[in-house]
Amino acid sequence: MGILFLKNPVHALLSFVSLILAVAGMFLHLGAELLAGLQLIIYAVAIVVFYVFVITTIPWEKVKKFEGFYKKEFLFGFPVLLVAFGIFAYAILKGNFAHVGVAGQDNVKEVGKSLFTTYLFPLEVASVILLTAMIGAILLGRKEE
């Protein structure tokens, strides 16, 4: 809620950090230890630092100019989303999920194994895409001569 209603982006970011930690705890409780670890390493460290850098780079006057939120959109959007939540909640609480199979126990080992066997091609494609993004970022960030 802090992300939605706090005016200051730094405060919103702090609220986001608490949310990240809470979601990591939920992942742990659900038995997805790898996701919890990734959540802490990627989100709580890398992405929050990235946001801090962005906030410190942008001049504060520009940030102040876009403070607050659109009231008309809020008045229309909030009830719609509340109704949507009600419908989803009803469907989930009343419905039954089919049981397909048993989830693996040692999930870090399982993920590592299947990444380098079944999902080797998608992994390689992802690495090429990342390399392209890195080269693109270097080219865009270079000063023009």
Binding site: V63, E67, F74, V100, A133
Partner: protein, 75 residues
């Protein structure tokens, strides 16, 4: 209510809050944080469905997770 269903409800709440943030916020930084909120909601939903149903596959879950994180940071 089972724990997994409660987590799915939380994930829907997170997703809809993020959506509301994207709609109403003026600041670009908070708008981006709201998209992160949506992504977190989707990941939590996937994790709880995997726990409940079984056989969804942790690897595909991780690929969606990492893919979402990378997609949001596309230059």
């Amino acid at each position: 209510v089972s724990i997994e269903k409660a987590y799915i409800l939380i994930s829907i709440f997170l997703f809809l809050s993020g959506l509301l943030g994207v709609i109403i916020r003026k600041n670009l930084i908070t708008l981006l944080i709201s998209t992160e909120l949506m992504l977190n909601g989707v990941n939590l939903a996937l994790a709880s469905v995997d726990k409940m149903v079984g056989g969804v596959g942790r690897t595909s879950l991780c690929i969606v997770y990492i893919g979402g994180v990378l997609l949001l940071r596309w230059p």
